[in-house]
């Protein structure tokens, strides 16, 4: 066994956990988010539902990491067993693993559809998504810390490309697009919030990855930072789209941010159709989402059934491919997406709240028991 340096072992730093959150959440959802929100809101009111969804998720992220870091260095299944009993913990683990599986399959399909739209029209969807899946399988069959390092390496590039698009589309901004304000009715806010919630799912990975953090006591704070970063990022993108297209225009295009990229003109005209470049870079963001989802799903399954990781990958890769190919058309894909998001939202929130409640009750009981014991011993 080769010696490895401190940072090269199976642990991750708290900053790596922080970057995990944008890596898993920022993916395909954000591309269509501004248009979905603009459908239900007027003017630039969309930031209210995004912020409310953001606040909800920041709280959720804190909750998950808090409960997981109460049991430092313990994998999900072991502390869930302590809190809920072994069979329920096993079922929960499998349900969470399923979410990772669904996210992977869904994103696989979306990326193929997108590539068809923005890169090539003749290559079949199957080939595009199979190639992507194979690269993802290669990634997850490597070391787990390697995936976190990939997140760290790709994240700045993704931020850079969005900021780049934002800066070079500055000619198209129209301040009047942001008006009117506060005209949306309550129903609109509600619908928009639902859509924002859907595009922010993915926090379930924190259940598993928190146990890998070297300093668990710092983790909840970093999780809050990570999720806040995502919310700010989403609002930035939303305002960019509204600024360029107005709310009516934004609602009419499927992927407004890619459309903005299409309008970007690099001084000197080195490249035309910048949307292709943007989309190609965006594949890295999507790749991070998929590897995180797939890997956490593998992690969960491995904690339940003790098989080798490579066996899971060999078995799951074809299954994922077939599941991704099931939806026939755009409507099917959208329904699939809604199902994945709803499933994820419900399972993650419920698990987090239940675990946190039980954990805090237990802690209180034990601390009371301790204090009473101390009192007894004193007297």
């Amino acid at each position: 066994m080769m010696y490895q340096f401190k940072y090269a072992d199976d642990k991750i730093s708290d900053n790596e956990l922080m970057i995990t959150i944008p890596s898993i959440t920022i993916g395909v959802g954000v591309l269509s988010l501004p248009s979905l929100i603009a459908e239900d809101t007027i003017g630039s009111d969309g930031w209210i539902p995004i912020i409310s969804a953001g606040v909800f998720f920041v709280a959720l992220a804190w909750l998950i990491v808090k409960v997981a870091s109460m049991y430092p260095n313990q994998p999900f299944i072991s502390f869930a067993s302590v809190l809920l009993s072994k069979p329920i913990a096993t079922v929960l683990t499998i349900l969470l693993a399923l979410q990772g599986f669904f996210i992977t399959a869904f994103v696989l399909r979306i990326i193929a559809d997108l590539a068809k739209e923005y890169l090539f029209d003749r290559t079949p969807v199957e080939v595009i998504s199979l190639c992507f899946l194979l690269v993802v399988s290669y990634a997850v069959s490597g070391s787990r810390v390697g995936l976190f390092r990939l997140n760290m390496m790709f994240f700045p590039i993704i931020i850079f490309i969005i900021v780049f698009v934002g800066i070079f589309s500055i000619n198209w901004y129209d301040a009047s697009n942001f008006l009117p304000v506060f005209q949306t009715d309550f129903r609109g806010y509600l619908n928009a919030s639902r859509n924002s919630l859907f595009s922010l799912t993915g926090l379930f990975v924190l259940f598993f990855y928190t146990s890998l953090v070297r300093k668990p006591d710092k983790a909840p704070k970093k999780a809050v930072y990570g999720m806040t970063m995502v919310s700010i990022f989403y609002i930035f993108i939303y305002f960019m789209c509204i600024g360029v297209f107005g709310y009516a225009g934004t609602a009419n295009v499927n992927y407004p941010i890619v459309e903005i990229a299409k309008e970007v003109e690099i001084p000197g005209g080195v490249f035309e159709r910048f949307d292709s470049i943007f989309f190609v870079i965006w594949i890295m963001a999507v790749f991070n989402t998929v590897t995180m989802a797939f890997d956490s799903s593998l992690y969960a399954l491995k904690s339940v059934f003790n098989l080798k990781k490579i066996h899971y990958i060999l078995f799951l890769t074809p299954v994922l491919f077939f599941v991704a190919m099931i939806p026939k058309d755009v409507i099917d894909v959208r329904e699939f997406g809604d199902f994945v998001s709803l499933y994820g939202l419900v399972i993650t929130t419920l698990t987090a709240i239940v675990l946190f409640t039980i954990a805090s009750v237990k802690k209180k009981v034990s601390s009371e028991a301790n204090t009473s014991k101390r009192r007894n011993s004193k007297s």
Binding site: Y3, F120, G142, G146, R149, E272, R273, I283
Partner: protein
């Protein structure tokens, strides 16, 4: 008294021919006979028989490996002087060797050995051997001297500014060159004998107050695992001890420059020197190190930073330019500005091949020219450049085999790849380039980005002596970024690389003047 065989393990010993692990005898004649038999009566073995205080003696050495003048003046003449002095009065066979050992001051190093094995190693390394009749031990006298190349400017790593001296084939000279850079008593040299038959000296150098102890333990373990007949060159050692032999990227860098080796030592790395080669190995390494040249630290920081950015751009061009050309021409014509698209289309009119074949054709031609230029003597090498670059390029275009744009792409790629200071990394980049080209031919830009992601996956999983190859990008050490793409002003580089986890973390501190 016959030969005593100290070790005769039949499983381990290959044949009797190869087993010299025997003790010497007390008879001078018998010893000389067995030495001659062992070496196969070589023509360059010199045997000088003489009598010293009425004892039969012999001094033997290999002609060309030992300094004849030194043997004459410092050994034979000294022995003569010793014999004439009174001290030899109470001499007998039992203390004779010890007296000579003490009195022969003019020889710097004397070893007293008793096995054939050690005798032959010493003899073949250039020592002369003093044998005495009636004594079962011999003296190895350090009289090494052989022809070696003078210190010259390193050929493979030329700099505009910086020391002009490079390592040579002589190990001792190389150690001296490093000692002259660092006068720290903590600079340690640990010696290994590598090669069952070549018995070459290998030296591991490190600064013990800086290097991470576990790293040192690991490299020592790996060095002692080498079991081979011959260690041909340091590149061969590299392949024995590297982490992953499947990777296209070198996990151990090499250098001909003492200043580069010394700065690596100061940073907390270790270096490996092998006798007979001017190339020393430097490890652990990381991908960012491939873009660093010693010159970066000698020039002012602004210049160095810009040059480093240029090198990163060059790496990008080396790996991606042909692939981008293929992807744009065959899949995404819409992305090329329309004016340029028309001109490319018109020049590609007569070209019979798809862009991928065109690119591979020219890529291989370029590699051929490079290889031919490297093999030939310098004067003819220039001819190859003219023939290749001008004649083939021009003729290929006018014959309609490739388009002029393709020639530009290939030329740019070649020029860019030579700007990367680590030659072995530049080769890796050029190798990976063909993979990118294939991916681009298959799936256009999408293929390129997938291939790029795959390279990244490989790099984050790769390690060099346990240090991640992708550091300090990830695992992220922001303080190490001061000397990565940019090279910050020298007073700001006060800390050793954090990713090496050195014992002593501070390397420089700006003092306030009083």
């Amino acid at each position: 008294m016959g030969r005593r065989v100290i070790k005769r393990n039949n499983q381990n010993a290959q044949t009797d021919d190869n087993n010299f692990n025997t003790y010497l005898t007390s008879s001078l004649k018998e010893n000389l006979d067995s030495i001659q038999k062992m070496l196969g009566n070589p023509v360059d073995l010199v045997i000088r028989n003489f009598y010293f205080a009425k004892h039969a003696c012999a001094i033997i050495y290999i002609d060309g490996l030992s300094n004849k003048q030194q043997i004459e003046e410092n050994v034979l003449r000294e022995l003569e002087r010793l014999e004439q002095s009174d001290q030899t009065a109470e001499l007998n066979t039992s203390n004779l060797l010890a007296i000579i050992h003490e009195q022969l001051i003019s020889i710097s190093s004397i070893k007293n050995v008793d096995t054939m094995d050690k005798l032959s190693l010493g003899l073949l390394s250039g020592s002369s051997v003093l044998l005495l009749d009636g004594v079962e031990r011999v003296l190895l006298l350090e009289t090494k001297e052989w022809e070696s190349r003078a210190i010259q400017e390193p050929v493979s790593e030329a700099l505009i500014r910086g020391p002009r001296e490079g390592f040579v084939e002589n190990l001792n000279t190389n150690i001296v060159l490093i000692r002259r850079q660092i006068r720290d008593p903590n600079l340690h040299f640990k010696e290994y004998d590598i090669g069952r038959r070549s018995k070459k000296k290998l030296v591991l150098a490190y600064i013990s107050g800086i290097i991470h102890p576990e790293l040192l333990k690991e490299v020592k373990k790996r060095l002692s695992s080498i079991d081979t007949d011959d260690a041909m060159e340091s590149g061969y050692i590299e392949q024995w001890i590297e982490d992953s032999f499947l990777s296209p990227f070198p996990q151990i860098f090499n250098s001909e420059r003492p200043d580069k080796a010394a700065s690596a030592l100061i940073k907390g790395k270790f270096i490996i020197l092998l006798d007979g080669t001017p190339f020393v190995l430097i490890a652990p390494t990381e991908i960012g190190g491939a873009f660093k040249s010693p010159e970066d630290y000698y020039e002012r920081w602004l210049i160095s930073s810009l040059i480093r950015v240029l090198r990163y751009l060059a790496a990008f061009i080396t790996m991606f330019l042909p692939a981008l050309y293929i992807a744009l021409v065959s899949y995404h014509q819409g992305m090329i500005p329309s004016q340029l698209a028309f001109s490319i289309a018109s020049t590609r009119e007569g070209v019979p091949f798809p862009a991928f074949v065109e690119a591979v054709l020219m890529g291989v031609t370029m590699e051929l020219l490079r290889e031919a230029g490297a093999r030939l003597p310098k004067t003819i090498g220039q001819t190859i450049g003219i023939v290749g670059g001008l004649v083939i390029g021009e003729a290929a275009v006018s014959a309609g085999v490739v388009s002029p744009i393709m020639v530009i792409v290939v030329a740019l790629t070649a020029v860019a790849s030579f700007t990367i200071p680590m030659y072995s990394v530049a080769i890796s980049f050029r190798m990976v380039r063909f993979g990118f080209m294939a991916a681009a031919a298959f799936l256009g830009l999408y293929g390129i980005i997938l291939a790029y992601i795959m390279v990244n996956i490989h790099i984050v999983n790769l390690k060099s002596f346990g240090v991640p190859y992708s550091t300090p990008y990830a695992p992220t050490f922001i303080s190490d970024w001061k000397d990565l793409v940019l090279r910050m002003p020298a007073p700001m580089l006060g800390r050793r690389p954090e990713y090496l986890q050195t014992k002593d973390k501070i390397s420089a501190k700006k003092r306030r003047s009083k």
